[in-house]
Every structure is written in structure tokens, then in C-alpha cells.
């Protein structure tokens, strides 16, 4: 698990400076605090910062292959590497390490990109083939691991695990991409290949990009989520999930799990404990505010499974103080504080000496656990039996209050009628419109660049070919997977907050075999009326006490607005949002923001629309200050000695001499 970065020029005589590479390595050192390595080739340079998980003494990168001369920098894990290595060994391939990095390079050298289909894991890598002057960038199926790149006018490609590595190179500058920001203010995250920075692209989940001699020659999706009906269900859920957990416990370092107190992480933890011979360590976020706190449930699960449990309590002050760090790591405006406690949690995990944690992420998308799926069911019901739908409306979003009977006509209007005629994005219109409230605070000249429906229109144009053949619920599931899980939950709330502390998250539900199984299950095995995750609950009932297996979902949330106001609030908040602070970025309308601030200060903010707006504004201000217009001179070079140094330029010079 690591961070990777590099620069490749179209022409082999062009120079890539070591200083630029050292700055890039330093910018992502948090991803791989154990050390770094670099490879210098003619007109090319690649770096890797390493978090050692497999073959600790020998698994350093970059690695090169003889005699082809290809070089790999690689971030992530291929869990089935021992099986694949054994197979290659039978084919006569010799290995120097037991690390998955070497396995991936050998496989690529032998089988090319067809090898991707056989990799089970979460990874992003850059494969440099100097004989063709070809750089291939690849990202895993669900987009667990990030990968950014930018093309320069001279055809050079600059890439990195995080955009800050690109900026540190001095070859790419940070200016806002308002379409990417618009995606956040509509869908909660920028949809790949877009990012929040102009000219900086992401390799989409399950895709690859091939650059050759100065231009992109291939952009291809090598895996995409499909909902095949009425094909037969593949495999048995328990067997598949157990195997996925078993594979994700593979590491040469201790592995822990996150416990939210809900069904998904409890199930993963129970299965993980059954697969290991030592006492598992579990970690949870708790809150002072009882409305968010799930401590008692978490402790009950830990007791029932018999883990060694750690709790990190996030106070309001912690949330406000840490928010800027989280924005810096996420590299995007955020409309929720939910990633912050997970950032604090990862820090604690690291302090406890754990570098790998498994979590329940993905279960709600695969087994339709979110309330948004129930909205779809209720909207359908509303067409046939409006009274019954209105009655059931009281059962969803119970955590938002008020009591079901006091919800009145507004709830019905917003949840049952909004978007109900929209065949494609109907499930997500209510949320998108509520989120888009933040755009009403934009300065008029900026608002012009983000017209009301642009983000949704782009999404409509880019829907996968089979989308039209899926059911409403399957479409909603795809939208959750592609517009929320990958751009937000796995990024700002996943990779970025854990890798900020060199902690690797692993997601047993996001094994492509588990997805293939879940996607083929009949709808009622996922959502039956108002009961979610039916098949998972059945499995949970076998391995967990019934009180846990039957528990109704409580979504993970953190205090949103209150941490930033009142006596205990940090000073910088009012500074960033003052007329002078707003004028500095020129993004927001002073008068409207003033109105919102007044409500925030008075503690009157009640709804998601206002809290998302407030956080969107605040985080955009932080993001702008942190990145936009910042010179590469502000990025320090890596000062440690590299653990690997491949210098082909020097080698060639010596040979000539």
C-alpha cells in the first residue's frame, strides 16, 4: 500500500529532474511513511512511497523487470497474489520477493492487460514500458485507490496518487474546474475523469489509460458494474463473503476492523474473528452528542465477538479543528463532516500500531441498505396507493426527525413526488436538488459557470449502455455506486482519511465476486418492502446475536454545523467567511452567505440543505486557500535516502563513458 507518482516525456532526451520527483514523493509521504524509492529513465521518472504490508524487507518499489526493462509503481493490494504467483511459478517464472507488486509486474509482462481480469483487489498503478515509450495507468474495479494525471502542452504526462503530487512537481498548476465542483454540489463528489482542478483528470474506476509518446492512445473500461437478469445467482453468499474476508486478512502485519455498531461492519468483524487465531482489534468512532453516538451498540458487538476494542471520541472541537486537514487530504470541497471522525479514527489506529483495517463499506450499495432505495419503492407505491405510501413514509429517515406523524405534506411532496417522472435519475433527484441549494450562495459570475442542471445532464449523457434495461432499484444502486461510493465515500471518506495516516482500508463487500452475486439476487433478497439487506441479515443471524443482526440501520453521521460556532469554535471560521475572506476567493455572494451565517450563529440551521450549504462554502474556502495558486516552491522535497534507486540515465552515461 503506497503512494505513487511520476513524470514521463514524449522524447527520451528530455529531462525529468530528480528534485521534481523528490517533491512529488514528499507530497504523498503520508500514504507510505515507511520509505520511498525512485526510478530515473531517459525522459522518465517514477517514485513510490511505501506502506509496507507484504514482504517487509524486500518489497520496495519501483521495481523493474529483466530483460524487458518495464518498471512498475503500484499502490494497493492484489489479495490473490499467492495463488497467481504459484501459477506463474508452475509456468517457470522465478520471483525475488513474495510481494504482490512483483507478481503484478510479471503478470503484466507475460499476459499484458488481460491479466487485470484475474486480479482480486484494490489497486492503482503505473506501468512504464520504455521500449514503446508507453505508460499505462490502471485503477481497480470500484475505484478504491485513486490515480490522477495531467497532460502538459509538450505531451508530457504527470501522474500521482493524489493531485498534490502533480502540483508538487511544478509542472501542473491548480485552478478550479467548476464542472467538478458542480458535481460535488449536486452529487457529493466529482465524477471521474473530472476532478476539482482544471486539466487534472482521474482514471475512472475499473478503467485504464494508455499514454504513448506524448498522447493518450487508449481510454478503456476493463470492468463495469452490471445488473444481469434473469441470470442465475453465482455462488453462495456465505462462502463468497467468508472467502473475501479471508483474502482481505492477508498481510504480514496485524489487521483490525472498524465497528460502526451496525450490521455490515459487525458481520465483517465476526467473520474476520472466525478466520484469525489471534484476538482481533476493533476500532470505533463515538460522539459526545448522543444523537450521533452508537457506543453502546459498538461495545455490545465487540463483547459478543470477543475483540479488543478501542473507541475514539470525536468532540465538536476536534471536528472543527481537523476539518481543514481533511479538506487538504481530500483535495475537494466537502458538504458533510462525516470524513472527519474517520480521519481521527485512522490516526488512533496508526498509534495503536495497526496499518490495515477491514470495514463494512459497500454493503449498503450492494444489498440496498440506504433509505434512498426505500424512497424508490415508496414512489412506485405512491403511483398505485398514495395513502399507503404516505403512511409508510413515516418509516424512513427516522433519524432526521420529526416524528412520523408530524411530517406533513412537505415530506410527501419532497420524497414521493419530486423526480417521480424522471425515468433515469428519479431516485436521486430529491437529494441532488437539496444538495444544489449550496449553488444559490455562489457569486453571480461563478453561478453562471454552473448552470442549474449541468451536472445531472452530464450524468444522463454518460449513463452506461445497459442502464435502460435495469429496474428502478438497480438504476438507483448503480447511481449510488458510481456517484456516491466512488467519488465520495471511498475517496474523501475512505482512502484519503485513512491514508492520511498510512492506514489501509479493506472492503470485503467490494470483492467483485460478492458484487456479481449480489447484483444477480432477486430484488426481494435485498429490499423486501421496507426491510433492507435481507440476504445479509439472514447470514448475520447465523454469526451474530439476534439483537445485532436485527438492528435497524442508523446511518453514520457527525455533527455538521454546531462545531463551527459558539464559544468553543476556532477563530479561522469567521475569518474565512468574513466579507474580506469571501472577497479573497471571489466565489461566494457576501450577502447571502451573511444570511446563512446569521442563522448558523443563532443555532437555527435545522435542515440538510442549510448544513450542506454551510459546509460546502466553508470547505471551498479552505480548499481554495490550500491549493489554488499555490506555488510548487511551497512543496518540500523528500529529504530521506531512497530505499530503492534505479538510475538508468546514469547507467547509460557510464556505459557510454
Amino acid at each position: 500500500m503506497c503512494g505513487i507518482a511520476g513524470i514521463v516525456r514524449p522524447n527520451e532526451s528530455a529531462v525529468v529532474t530528480e528534485t521534481a520527483l523528490l517533491r512529488m514523493a514528499r507530497a504523498i509521504r503520508h500514504r507510505g511513511p515507511d520509505g520511498f524509492g525512485l526510478a530515473l529513465d531517459a525522459g522518465a521518472g517514477l517514485v513510490s512511497s511505501r506502506l509496507a504490508i507484504f514482504d517487509l524487507p524486500r518489497g520496495w518499489q519501483p521495481i523493474e523487470s529483466e530483460p524487458l526493462g518495464s518498471v512498475l509503481v503500484y499502490n494497493g493490494e492484489v489479495y490473490n497474489h499467492p495463488e497467481l504467483r504459484a501459477e506463474l511459478q508452475r509456468r517457470g517464472v522465478a520471483f525475488k520477493t513474495t510481494c504482490d507488486t512483483e507478481l503484478v509486474l510479471r503478470l503484466l509482462d507475460i499476459d499484458g492487460l488481460t491479466a487485470l481480469d484475474r486480479l482480486n483487489g484494490q489497486f492503482a498503478f503505473a506501468w512504464w514500458q520504455p521500449s514503446h515509450r508507453r505508460l499505462t495507468l490502471v485503477r481497480d474495479r470500484f475505484g478504491v485507490r485513486p490515480l490522477y494525471y495531467a497532460l502538459r502542452d509538450d505531451g508530457s504526462i504527470v501522474f500521482g496518487s493524489e493531485a498534490k503530487a502533480l502540483f508538487a512537481s511544478g509542472e501542473v498548476s491548480a485552478s478550479p474546474d467548476f464542472a467538478g465542483i458542480d458535481d460535488i454540489f449536486t452529487l457529493w463528489g466529482p465524477r471521474a475523469p473530472r476532478t476539482t482542478f482544471e486539466g487534472v483528470h482521474q482514471v475512472p474506476a475499473g478503467a485504464l489509460v494508455v499514454w504513448e509518446r506524448g498522447r493518450i492512445v487508449v481510454k478503456r473500461t476493463w470492468w463495469r458494474p452490471e445488473y444481469h437478469r434473469p441470470e442465475l445467482v453465482e455462488g453462495d453468499l456465505e462462502t463468497l463473503l467468508r472467502d473475501s474476508v479471508r483474502l482481505r486478512l492477508r498481510a504480514d502485519v496485524p489487521v483490525g476492523t472498524y465497528l460502526s455498531g451496525g450490521l455490515d461492519s459487525s458481520l465483517i468483524t465476526a467473520l474476520a474473528q472466525q478466520e484469525t487465531d489471534h484476538q482481533l482489534r476493533t476500532f470505533s468512532v463515538a460522539f459526545k452528542d448522543p444523537r450521533y453516538d452508537e457506543r453502546s451498540h459498538q461495545e455490545a458487538v465487540a463483547r459478543a465477538i470477543g475483540t479488543l476494542h478501542h473507541v475514539v471520541e470525536a468532540t465538536s472541537r476536534d471536528i472543527a479543528d481537523t476539518f481543514p486537514d481533511v479538506v487538504r487530504h481530500a483535495e475537494m470541497p466537502l458538504i458533510r463532516t462525516a470524513p472527519v471522525p474517520l480521519f481521527l479514527l485512522a490516526r488512533r489506529v496508526r498509534e495503536r500500531g495497526i496499518t490495515v483495517v477491514a470495514t463494512g463499506e459497500g454493503a449498503d450499495e450492494l444489498f440496498w441498505g440506504y433509505e434512498i432505495f426505500k424512497e424508490v419503492v415508496l414512489r412506485d407505491l405512491n403511483r398505485r396507493e398514495p395513502d399507503r405510501a404516505a403512511e409508510l413514509l413515516g418509516q424512513i429517515y427516522s433519524y432526521l426527525g420529526p416524528a412520523a406523524t408530524r411530517r406533513g405534506p412537505a415530506w410527501r411532496r419532497f420524497l414521493l413526488e419530486t423526480g417521480s417522472d424522471d425515468e433515469q435519475l428519479g431516485s436521486h433527484i430529491t437529494r441532488a436538488l437539496a444538495t444544489a441549494t449550496v449553488k444559490s450562495f455562489l457569486a453571480p459570475e461563478i453561478a453562471e459557470t454552473m448552470n442549474a442542471n449541468a451536472s445531472l445532464e452530464r450524468l444522463r449523457r454518460e449513463l452506461p449502455p445497459s442502464f435502460a434495461h435495469w429496474s428502478r432499484l438497480e438504476r438507483a444502486a448503480w447511481l449510488e455506486l458510481s456517484t456516491l461510493l466512488e467519488p465520495n465515500l471511498l475517496a474523501a471518506q475512505g482512502d484519503r482519511v485513512s491514508m492520511a495516516h498510512g492506514v489501509e482500508g479493506r472492503y470485503p463487500f467490494l470483492d467483485h465476486r460478492v458484487f456479481a452475486h449480489a447484483s444477480r439476487l432477486p430484488a426481494h433478497e435485498k429490499l423486501d418492502g421496507m426491510t433492507e439487506k435481507v440476504a445479509l441479515r439472514r447470514l448475520a443471524a447465523k454469526v451474530l446475536p439476534s439483537a445485532i443482526a436485527e438492528r435497524v440501520k442508523q446511518p453514520y453521521r457527525a455533527p455538521e454545523v454546531t462545531p463551527f460556532f459558539g464559544e468553543d469554535a476556532p477563530d479561522w471560521v469567521e475569518g474565512l467567511l468574513s466579507p474580506a475572506g469571501l472577497a479573497e476567493t471571489g466565489l461566494w455572494d457576501e450577502q447571502r452567505v451573511g444570511g446563512l451565517l446569521q442563522r448558523c450563529r443563532a443555532g437555527r440551521v435545522t435542515g440538510m440543505r442549510e448544513s450542506m450549504s454551510f459546509l460546502g462554502i466553508l470547505s471551498t474556502q479552505i480548499w481554495h486557500r490550500e491549493f489554488v495558486g499555490r506555488s510548487s516552491a511551497n512543496y518540500q522535497p523528500e529529504e530521506r535516502m531512497p530505499r530503492v534507486r534505479i538510475d538508468r540515465v546514469q547507467r547509460a552515461t557510464q556505459e557510454v563513458a
Binding site: W411, R413, R604, G607
Partner: protein
């Protein structure tokens, strides 16, 4: 000047301060429907009901939380008047 006008003024101030600041382009008339205009969302509606309840000391029954009673400034005025008369 009846008390009803007081409700109208109170509610207009309240709506302007808490919801309309976001929509400077909207010139809200007393009969305009909050939900249709989209200036009050589902949670805002609950906030509005709470405001009427506490400001005028009127216990609002679940069954009374309707657009007919809370959907516009004029609707709220009529509702408050009716409740006061009944009390």
C-alpha cells in the same frame, strides 16, 4: 388593524429572515405557496410549524400539519385566527 395583520407581518419577517435570504429574486406574496416555490423544504416546514406553535402558544395537532394551514403566509394567518377564535 386587526391582530391578523400582526401575524401576517410576523410571518413575513420570519420567512424572509429564515428562508427568503436565499432567494432574493422572489417577491413573495401572501398567498404564494411555499412548497411550490420551493423556498421551504421538508425540514423547513417542520421548523415553520414549530415557530407558529411557540410564537402564538397554539398547540398544533398532527392532523393540522397541512398545506392548507401552513402553505403560505395567508394560510398561516387564517389558521392562527381560527385557532384563537376556537380557544
Amino acid at each position: 388593524m386587526s391582530e391578523g395583520n400582526g401575524v401576517r407581518i410576523d410571518m413575513r419577517d420570519y420567512i424572509e429572515e429564515n428562508f427568503l435570504y436565499l432567494y432574493p429574486g422572489i417577491a413573495l406574496k401572501d398567498e404564494d405557496d411555499f412548497l411550490t416555490l420551493g423556498i421551504v423544504d421538508s425540514l423547513g416546514f417542520v421548523e415553520l410549524v414549530g415557530e407558529v406553535q411557540s410564537r402564538y402558544g397554539i398547540p398544533v395537532e398532527d392532523i393540522e400539519i397541512t398545506e392548507e394551514n401552513f402553505g403560505s403566509i395567508a394560510a398561516i394567518e387564517r389558521y392562527v385566527e381560527r385557532k384563537r377564535t376556537a380557544a
